[in-house]
Amino acid sequence: MKFSILVTCPPQAQGAQSALKFAKASLNAGHELHRIFFYQDAVNLSSTLQIIPRDEHNLNDEWSAFIAEYKLDAVVCIAAAVRRGVLDENEAKRYNTQGYNLSPQFELSGLGQLVDAMIVSDRMITFK
């Protein structure tokens, strides 16, 4: 089965962790993960500037490591991201900001990538 995952909740919500557990479980079960699309407050999962206290679980790092390990297609909605201060190098130049913070495992792109994921996948699973 070919899955895609839509994550819309903030990193602090249970859904962000459940999405990661589902993604890992689906790969372990032999399914294909076509794309993970981060929308709304979930774009903050891709920010390297989210500082997590040492005694708390760092979900941002765990998502980044998981995406890198399996070379997954992890797309962050560009409009939702820039509104929340998540930028890559190009967007930082475009908006003339002091720096950028998108974790390198993620890619900024448009909602077309979400639609493509719906079309191509057998199932689209939402975590909110």
Partner: protein, 125 residues
């Protein structure tokens, strides 16, 4: 052998977020319009606080908010095939054809269940 996926899918958006709940409703509507622009078969169902988005008497500009009703009015131009509202929520939020920004049908719980069952993809915002 697995068959190729259909290029046009039936996509249902259930919008439950109200007009003043941060960016949730705005971004749900953005996703509706983007999906419709890619020529998918899009249906939108409003329930809970989301029903308030249909109220044309709202004046969000007074709160310096974007008027999402104007975006909902554009659903038809984008080819959104149908718009519905949960019957109970329609009463709760005093939504009627006379005060709504667009035409809609009402669905009871069985109707909503049937609507969801007929989709390829259902996204809840």
């Amino acid at each position: 052998m697995q068959s190729e996926p259909a290029l046009i899918k039936k996509v249902l958006f259930i919008i439950r977020s109200g007009p003043f709940d941060g960016l949730k409703a705005r971004e749900a509507i953005d996703a509706v319009l983007a999906t419709a622009a890619f020529e998918q078969h899009v249906t939108v169902h409003f329930q809970d606080e989301g029903v308030r988005l249909l109220n044309r008497d709202m004046n969000p500009e007074a709160l310096k908010s974007k008027n999402l009703g104007k975006m909902i009015k554009a659903f038809g131009m984008y080819g959104v095939s149908s718009i519905s509202v949960s019957t109970g929520d329609c009463k709760r939020y005093n939504c009627s054809p006379e005060n709504a920004v667009t035409t809609f049908t009402t669905l009871d719980q069985n109707g909503v269940r049937e609507l969801i069952a007929n989709q390829d993809v259902t996204l809840v915002f």
